[in-house]
């Protein structure tokens, strides 16, 4: 996709008028806001203006992806100095309040701490703005349901960033399954092994009440993928442990899922590995075949440089530089959906079902591995 930064251009924050005059905006606040295709942009997402709320790790990642897509961005954070710094770095502007941000953009990208997803997303929907929300959809199922209701009432789109569905290796494996290459999925093993994000004690990320811990933050990627490949889950057993920094909570968890199809999945999520580990692996065994992947063996470039530290960043992230940026694919697909209704590979309903599964796994872990049942009918409600 060709980025069209120049064409999309900036907009005047005071008048909300696109300075290049080529983007039209509906002022209809009563229902779905049509985003008309501009004549100048040769990408769909270049016709959008995105407002990013929250400038932590994922906010910065999304800002980079939006920028690469040629989307005009506005940034808001309660920490205005951080917002200014980030906006300056990416050529974005900042808003001084949520309300100002909502006025200035077509789509609100919620990258706040998890427990604040719902209030921000609901406010954005009520302001008539489409909403993109980082995973997990919300801290509680009730919050997620309220988000769905708000989006439905406002007639806006709501999409949740389950980015693993945009990672090429995960997409290729699912495509192979859908093509019947291994038959019916029977046993899945999904692994995500890394180090604990390097945040200080007291950071929201380590507060289970705010983040949901490793199950809602890390394991949820593979819980979502397990559902995407093998369908709804009817039972989950999960165990967890604290390996390092007890004050920061659980950093290793393993779940066993039973799918409605009869398939079974082993899902392992860990922050117990030494930096700079970020390893993802999966095996999908089917009725007549097998798919294996391990990121430990698929890095096309391996540096062996003498003068380097451990190479670890604050939060581990897969090196996506050699086959497109999954975050960019994700946001481009979401943007297209918002402009012209193109279907997406994940829906808010999907994200809610994944959240319910993650909450069930977390509950199981807190109850020493009690088997928690899920109603598959509720997942597709």
């Amino acid at each position: 996709m060709t980025a069209t930064v120049g064409v999309a251009g900036a907009y005047d924050r005071r008048t909300e008028a696109p300075v290049d005059g080529r983007r039209a905006r509906s002022n209809d606040r009563s229902g779905a806001r049509a985003i008309r295709r501009g004549s100048g942009g040769d990408t769909v997402s270049a016709q959008l203006r995105a407002g990013i709320v929250g400038t932590g790790f994922i906010g910065e990642t999304h800002l980079g992806a939006w920028t690469a897509e040629g989307v005009t961005t506005v940034v808001y954070d309660v920490d205005s100095a951080r917002a200014d710094e980030l906006a300056g770095r990416f050529g974005a502007t900042t808003a001084s309040s949520l309300g100002e941000l909502f006025e200035a953009v077509d789509v609100v990208d919620v990258c706040t701490p998890t427990h604040l997803h719902a209030p921000v997303a609901i406010a954005a929907a009520k302001a008539g703005r489409h909403v993109i929300c980082e995973k997990p959809m919300a801290r509680t199922a009730a919050d997620a349901e309220a988000m769905l209701d708000a989006a439905r009432e406002a007639g806006v789109r709501l999409l949740v960033g389950h980015v693993v569905r945009f990672f090429p290796e995960y997409v290729a494996a699912r495509d192979a399954v859908l093509a019947g290459q291994i038959g019916d999925p029977g046993v899945l093993r999904l692994t995500r092994a890394s180090f604990r994000p390097r945040q200080p004690a007291g950071h929201w990320f380590f507060d289970h009440a705010k983040s949901g811990g490793i199950v809602l933050d890390l394991m949820i990627h593979d819980l979502d993928y397990a559902r995407w490949v093998a369908g709804e889950v009817v039972a989950v057993e999960c165990r967890s442990a604290i390996v390092d920094r007890p004050e920061a909570g659980v950093d290793h968890a393993v779940a066993i899922l039973t799918h409605a199809s009869g398939a079974i999945s082993h899902v392992s999520a860990s922050w117990a590995y030494a930096p700079p580990t970020f390893r993802t692996a999966f095996e999908i065994a089917g009725s007549h075949g097998l798919i294996e992947h391990d990121s430990a063996f698929t890095a096309p470039v391996t540096p062996y440089l003498l003068a380097s530290g451990d190479g670890a960043t604050t939060t581990a992230l897969a090196d996506t530089s050699l086959n497109g940026d999954p975050f960019r694919h994700e946001l481009a697909e979401f943007a297209r959906a918002m402009v012209d209704g193109t279907p997406t590979r994940t829906s808010a309903q999907d994200a809610l079902a994944t959240l319910r599964l993650a909450l069930a796994a977390d509950q199981s872990a807190h109850e020493g591995g009690r088997v928690v049942r899920l109603d598959p009918a509720e997942a597709v409600r």
């Binding site: 291994i182 038959g183 019916d184 999925p185 029977g186 046993v187 093993r189 092994a193 039972a235 057993e237 165990r239 442990a241 604290i242 390996v243 390092d244 290793h252 393993v254 066993i256 039973t258 009869g262 398939a263 079974i264 999945s265 082993h266 392992s268 860990s270 117990a272 590995y273 030494a274 095996e283 065994a285 089917g286 009725s287 007549h288 075949g289 097998l290 591995g369 009690r370 088997v371």
Partner: protein
């Protein structure tokens, strides 16, 4: 005169093989024929032709009766179908012959306990064939754990998956003779290694299984995941599935990720292999160039027999593994975690 007294007179340890029906017998027989200080004294099999063919290939005698072979040996390796272990081990014990019994020790807990009791009563040595205990990668992990190099172990994740063994013999997938499918076949190795590494017993088991894999077959379970909780608080999982399709370049594998307060260690026990690309028909194969754990295990058994001391892996180890398999099946049936009958007992 007991077997041991006879052996003392003869010098070499005389070993017989009871049954060629287990695929591992095909590995053990040439190794026994080759081991210094060992006389491969004979092979019995329920099928006389199979016994003759195996004995001819190994340069040893075929026996038409179990009793006949037991009279001529100090020790036996029992590689019959799982359900027939008990009868053969009991005969060996009564004859005063030491036993190396293929895993799983038995298809149910009462048979496994009877095997242990019979050998204890007769005063013969009993070892369960868990060759992975001699895999150097596994031993490195264990010695690191024992030395405290991983801190306190909080979790173990293991994968012991393989091809469906009906390619070797039909009895593997006949529950009357094997005891079950993938759960019976593959849980015991890792369950034993975990017990050995942790020095703790399993108290609770949760397991799920299905029959989706290997669609050419409709019978015992082909896929399984097992979650174990140990008395010391460590939790561990096992993927025991027969998930390797026939196109897979090797039989399967065994790997462990160990998580402790000191970090993590991953072990792939059969990583030492080549990739060989042959003709289209031959396809790809992964010949193993790593050390032969079967040989090390047999050497350890022979040494134990020679010195008449308790082998490194005992019959009780085999019994504990069978108890874990039994709990796994009970959990699959119940859909809930279950306690292990004689945990710690």
């Amino acid at each position: 005169m007991t077997g041991h007294e006879r052996r003392a007179a003869a010098g070499n340890v005389r070993i017989g093989v009871l049954s060629m029906e287990h695929v591992h017998a095909r590995s053990y027989v040439p190794l026994l024929a080759d081991l210094p200080g060992v006389d491969l004294a004979g092979i019995w099999d329920a099928n006389p032709e199979r016994a003759s063919s195996a004995a001819g290939g190994a340069g040893t005698r075929a026996f038409g009766s179990v009793a006949g072979l037991l009279e001529q040996v100090d020790a036996v390796v029992v590689t019959a179908p799982n359900a027939e272990h008990r009868d053969l081990v009991e005969q060996a014990a009564v004859a005063g012959v030491d036993v190396l019994c293929e895993k799983p020790l038995a298809t149910n807990v009462p048979d496994a306990r009877a095997i242990v009791d019979a050998c204890e009563r007769a005063g013969v040595l009993l070892m369960t064939a868990f060759p992975s205990r001699w895999n150097p990668a596994v031993r490195t992990l264990r010695s690191t754990i024992v030395a405290g190099g991983l801190g306190e172990v909080v979790a173990l994740e293991g994968v012991n998956t393989g091809a469906m063994p009906d390619i070797h013999a039909a009895w593997f997938v006949d529950p009357a003779r094997s005891g079950g499918g993938a759960v019976t076949d593959h849980v015991v190795h890792l369950a034993d290694l975990y017990r050995w590494m942790l020095g703790s017993e399993v108290v609770e088991v949760y397991a799920v299984a299905n029959r989706i894999l290997q669609e050419h077959f409709d019978g015992v379970e082909t896929g399984g995941l097992v979650s174990l909780r140990f008395a010391n608080g460590t939790f561990a999982t096992i993927d025991c599935s027969w998930s390797k399709p026939r196109s897979y370049p090797t039989w399967g594998g065994l790997s462990i990720s160990a998580i402790g307060t000191g970090g993590a260690i991953t072990v792939d026990a059969f990583r030492q292999r080549l990739a060989v690309y042959g003709t289209r028909e031959a396809g790809i194969s992964w010949p193993d160039w790593g050390p032969d754990s079967d040989r090390s295990m047999l050497e350890a058994f022979v040494d134990a027999v020679r010195e008449q001391r308790q082998p490194a892996v005992t019959g009780v180890d085999g019994l504990r593994a069978v108890e874990i398999v039994d709990a796994a099946y009970r959990s699959i049936e119940a859909g809930e975690p279950v306690r292990v009958g004689s945990a710690g007992g």
